[in-house]
């Protein structure tokens, strides 16, 4: 979703590439997903006495 500026005059508008936003979220999302996966895996060991 683009959030337009509402109060700036005399500036060229920009467009944030969707690909850049997707890349940035992926870059932080993948390590988080890894951490989440590992956490669930090890948490399973915790409750089974592993």
């Amino acid at each position: 979703m683009s959030t337009p500026m509402s109060t700036q005059d005399g500036q060229r508008p920009t467009h944030t590439p969707t690909g850049l936003i997707a890349f940035a979220w992926t870059l932080v999302g993948v390590p988080l997903a890894y951490g989440l996966y590992q956490t669930v895996k090890t948490a399973f060991d915790l409750f089974t006495g592993g």
């Binding site: 500026m5 109060t7 508008p13 890894y34 956490t39 895996k41 006495g49």
Partner: protein
């Protein structure tokens, strides 16, 4: 202090049409890295054995880092507000990475003071600057949902341990073939040194990515369709501005300082000791724990998950409930849960984990909600610098929490022989602290008008003209 032009605030002012949803991943790129500070318990035993020192001596490394976090956030908060988040993130990345590299050298050469200097002092400065760098920027990008915004950033700090904890275990397994994460195996010092080296380099790259994509909103920008006058409708929420210099003269600042200190001290005592604590709670009289080291590492991860989730969920909730009621939950319910942990926590693993996990979610929620609480009370004018000054409470708690737990445990017996009862005195001290924090939160009232910054027509409505702050 001037910064190179490519780091300057003027270079990163967003043009019309910029998508604000690029800012949260920039903030997360920094907070996911510095959140590693919560994963120190994974290699704590290895460092105790490698250096042949007490738990307290190694726990101090974490305490120094947290002290430096608070001090650097307080000292450089105004600098961060003035120079913008890119410069702050850059400095944070360099300090955090250097801290790991110097720490690695200290471990490899058996020089404990280098570990204190590297991870503790230099890394701690990186922690402090990195922690506050994206928070005020996010508040400005998301004035319609400040709790959600700060929750997103500070969630990353909690998530950092969720990543670093298993990653550290896997890397130490790679660097030390004799270590496999099971009970009784402890990684060699060299493996921890190589781990520090690896993390230092990876974190540098990741944090610099965040610094590259961060932007600040232009003066006067607001989200489409958002009416700033709607902010005033809630109790304790101001549309006025209070400078950082004046904020620290108000009782509200110091009441929040006490609230944060008590909430953090209570949580940090568990987090810093998480891995050995769960093993000790379920240790029999023969000294054998029913919880293996791998499972204890899983417990660290579970806490990290709740720490992270609590930051996002509780902080977002505060946009609807209000900041003060949220803190009443964190401190009041947290107090009851702590009593449960001390009295019936050792009766079942699932109960221990559940109690600790909810306590830690309140701990995380307390961190994530406080910038929005500050913004409500003091406005957005210098909220970054005010937040930085408030984080000295975290520093004090970073010393008090581990000292209380480690100090009590050092009097109770040797590591590896402790049981649940040995933790009880420390846990009841935490209960008392949470009670103090609860009362402090109850006493928070709106900031007096005399501390508000002058508007364009000062004193026009008969209000006294405040002492304008020199801090910019």
């Amino acid at each position: 202090m001037a910064v190179p032009s490519f780091l300057a605030r003027e270079r990163i002012v967003a043009r019309p049409g910029f998508n604000r949803w690029l800012i949260p991943p920039a903030a997360l790129a920094v907070h996911l890295c510095i959140g590693q500070a919560y994963a120190t318990s994974v290699y704590k035993t290895a460092l105790v054995e490698d250096f042949q020192v007490s738990q307290t001596a190694i726990g101090i490394v974490f305490s120094i880092a947290i002290v430096m976090l608070g001090l650097s956030a307080a000292v450089f908060g105004t600098w961060v507000d003035r120079n913008g988040p890119r410069a702050a993130m850059f400095v944070s990345a360099v300090c955090w990475s250097t801290g790991f590299l110097v720490g690695a050298l200290g471990i490899a050469t058996q020089q404990l003071w280098l570990l204190y200097l590297g991870y503790g002092v230099i890394g701690g400065i990186g922690l402090g600057i990195g922690y506050i760098s994206p928070v005020s920027t996010l508040i400005k990008w998301f004035p319609d949902r400040p709790g959600l915004a700060t929750g997103m950033a500070i969630m990353g700090f909690g998530g950092g341990a969720l990543i670093a904890s298993p990653l550290s275990r896997q890397l130490m397994d790679l660097y030390d073939p004799d270590y496999d994460g099971t009970a009784g195996t402890v990684p060699a010092g060299n493996a921890v040194a190589l781990l520090f080296l690896t993390l230092g380099l990876v974190y540098l790259v990741f944090m610099l990515f965040g610094a590259t994509i961060i932007r600040v909103p232009a003066e006067g920008w607001k989200p489409d369709g958002w009416d700033p006058s709607s902010v005033k409708q809630k109790a304790l929420v101001t549309t006025e501005s209070v400078s950082a210099a004046n904020a620290i003269k108000t009782p509200q600042f110091w009441l929040l300082w006490v609230v944060l200190f008590c909430n953090v001290t209570a949580g940090i005592g568990i987090l810093e000791q998480a891995s050995p604590m769960i093993q000790d709670f379920f240790r029999d009289d023969e000294g054998n724990s029913s919880v293996a080291l791998a499972a204890a590492t899983g417990f660290v991860g579970v806490l990290s998950l709740f720490n992270m989730a609590g930051r996002f969920v509780w902080s977002s909730t505060s946009d609807f409930l209000g900041r003060k009621p949220n803190y009443m939950i964190y401190l009041g319910v947290g107090l009851l849960l702590y009593i449960g942990l001390a009295t019936v926590g050792s009766s079942a693993t699932w109960l221990f984990v559940l109690l600790a996990a909810v306590i830690i979610s309140f701990y995380g929620g307390g961190f994530a909600t406080v910038p929005a609480y500050l913004r409500d009370l003091f406005g957005t004018f210098q909220v970054g610098a005010i937040h930085g000054r408030l984080l000295t409470a975290w520093s004090a708690a970073g010393v008090a929490g581990p000292l209380i737990v480690n100090g009590v445990l050092d009097t109770q017996g040797e590591p590896g022989t402790l049981q649940a009862g040995n933790y009880r005195p420390a846990l009841f001290i935490m209960v008392g602290l949470l009670a103090i924090g609860f009362v402090a939160n109850l006493l928070v009232k709106p900031v007096a008008a005399k501390w508000h910054e002058p508007t364009s027509s000062p004193g026009a409505e008969g209000a006294p003209i405040p002492e304008r702050s020199a801090a910019r």
